[in-house]
């Protein structure tokens, strides 16, 4: 374990140097077909939400069947914000063009991933050096020189995984949820109450509509169709899926709220969200 920690530290330190920025135009993985795209979407959501084993399983399925193919998509929340036709996510010129013409940041809303990237990231998060090295080597087909190091320096949306209490000791949260693009979304009011996070809606005095919510003293989320957020320390901590309000209920990605509450281990099982003991509130 100490060795893993040491290697991780070295990789992180080294990787922080390797921030070169060559021009575009280097090879990209081939485009994924519909089946691979859907699995990679699910794998990406699992990775963001800290379900690394699931992300690995799905990524390997795609890799073994189709190779290192790349999926690109616009999350469902984008369709709530942007009226009309969305650009083809695989058409870079169209995405750039619409970003510049419309003012909506399609370049930031777009999601993209491919198996070797997810596998390298997930194995690294799990501390598996052997598999990390294997997939890092695979990544070299698409990653320019020493930039491979950067793959391991970027922070993880749900952090690294450390040993947790056995799953049979985890407890279910009295919290309803919905799944969208494989992200677990929970009602903000209910979730904050269960997780013990103080929050307060922000309301536009002119329209009376909710525009966002303060999370703790310094946190901030938007309900205006943006994934931009600040965590409870007031730091920039954007979400992988934008919150929204529907029929008076505000739906927020659970992984983000869980992180604010100090929860590191959770999963959905038998229709409920389970969290590890002594991790429920902070």
């Amino acid at each position: 374990m100490r060795k893993v920690a040491w290697i991780t530290t070295i990789v992180f330190a080294l990787s922080s140097f390797c921030l070169s920025s060559p021009p575009g135009g280097y090879p990209r993985p081939p485009r994924a077909n519909a089946e691979a795209e859907e699995k990679l979407k699910e794998a990406y959501a699992a990775y963001v939400q800290g379900q690394y084993q699931k992300a690995i399983r799905l990524s390997l399925e795609v890799y073994e069947k189709y190779g290192d193919v790349e999926a690109k998509w616009f999350p469902s929340w984008v369709r709530r914000v942007v009226k009309g036709h969305l650009p083809d996510p695989y058409n870079k010129n169209e995405v750039l063009g619409r970003t510049i013409e419309s003012g909506f940041l399609f370049t930031m809303a777009i999601r993209s991933t491919f198996p070797s990237y997810l596998l390298a990231r997930c194995y690294n998060a799990l501390g598996d050096d052997k598999e990390t090295a294997r997939w890092a080597a695979e990544l070299r087909k698409w990653v320019y020189g020493d930039e491979i190091m950067l793959v391991f320096s970027l922070p993880y949306p749900s952090g690294y995984v450390k040993p947790s209490a056995p799953r049979n000791t985890w407890r279910p949260l009295p919290l309803k949820f919905r799944e969208e693009d494989y992200f677990i979304l929970v009602p903000l009011d209910q979730a904050c109450k269960v997780l013990g996070i103080p929050f307060q809606y922000k309301v536009n005095p002119k329209t009376g509509k909710r525009t966002g919510a303060k999370i703790g003293e310094k946190g901030l989320i938007s309900l205006m169709g943006r994934p931009f957020a600040r965590n409870i320390r007031g730091e920039v901590d954007d979400m992988a899926y934008a919150p929204y309000e529907e029929d008076g209920v505000v739906w927020v990605p659970f992984y983000w709220l869980a992180k604010q509450a100090g929860i590191r281990w959770w999963e959905v099982r038998n229709g409920k969200i389970y969290v590890a003991p002594k991790q429920g509130t902070k």
Binding site: F17, L150, L220
Partner: protein, 276 residues
């Protein structure tokens, strides 16, 4: 005026050697026959993060482009020799202009992906924020002397922020805005030095330290060029990774981020083709 034409033709002729679409480049040259050009940067990341709730900080702050330490640009052409200047991309009147290839285009004064900026007798680069899965800080599409498309620079702001936070956590005191300015300046350097290869013997990715030795698109080459320049291939400039595998970095970054492109021979400033 004539001198300007010759310079522009020289620029595109050199670029044409590097790309297949020579004809398109030539068209670009003809369109850009004009007075000495200004150069501006359109920042499409100048979007408030959450204005409805009081967070007016921009995704890419304009100060990242107008930062005095990031863009003194003594060797960069531009208005009153001040180098690049910022044009707010989301403002401007609506106009119709005739594009030589696609006809009339209507839109905001600079809100065109194709051609319009060049028609205004200026050079323009577009900066957009990105969440692309490439593990990079930023990257550039195309040279500035190409009328067929405005050079677009994508930047991953969170990645720059993470890098700054890391170095500050180990004792450095980098300013995020200055760091963003350096990264954007580096990419702008690519748009201008697109045709410069400092080390043609090294092909992309064929050696283990290719970033340090490649020299493509104006990148500095380890051992040949100054580290204190926007075109150093690593961020922060001055850093050199562990090349000899002895477990130690071969060079740590400078305490202060660079503030300009270099001018020593064969410095970047001597390689500008815009307004030498």
């Amino acid at each position: 005026m004539v001198g300007g034409e010759e310079r522009e033709n020289l620029c595109c002729a050199e670029a044409g050697n590097k790309v297949k679409d020579v004809r398109r480049q030539s068209i670009g040259c003809l369109v850009m026959l004009a007075k000495v050009k200004d150069m501006f940067v359109m920042n499409f990341g100048a979007v408030p993060r959450d204005p409805e709730n009081g967070d007016w900080s921009f995704v890419i702050p304009n100060e990242a482009i107008t930062h005095p330490n990031g863009f003194p640009g003594t060797g960069v052409p531009g208005e009153n020799d001040n180098g690049f200047w910022l044009l707010n991309a989301n403002e401007g009147e609506t106009h119709s202009v005739r594009h030589p290839e696609v006809g009339w285009i209507t839109g905001k004064i600079v809100n065109f992906l194709h051609g319009y900026a060049h028609l205004r007798d200026v050079y323009a680069a577009v900066v957009v924020p990105s969440e692309d899965n490439r593990p990079r800080l930023a990257w550039t599409f195309g040279p500035i002397c190409n009328v067929a498309s405005i050079p677009v620079i994508e930047i991953r702001v969170p990645t720059v922020r993470d890098a700054v936070n890391y170095w500050n956590s180990v004792g450095y005191q980098y300013d995020l805005l200055h760091a963003l300015a350096c990264v954007i300046a580096h990419e702008l350097g690519h748009t201008i030095l697109w045709h410069i290869d400092h080390n043609e013997q090294v092909q992309n990715g064929e050696d283990e330290i290719s970033i340090l030795t490649n020299g493509d698109k104006g990148h500095h080459v380890y051992g040949q060029h100054r580290m204190r320049c926007f075109m150093w291939p690593y961020f922060p400039p001055g850093v050199v990774p562990d090349l000899d595998n002895d477990g130690a970095w071969d060079s740590l970054p400078f305490p202060n981020l660079p503030t300009d492109f270099c001018d020593s021979d064969p410095g970047c400033q001597n390689l500008w083709r815009l307004n030498p």
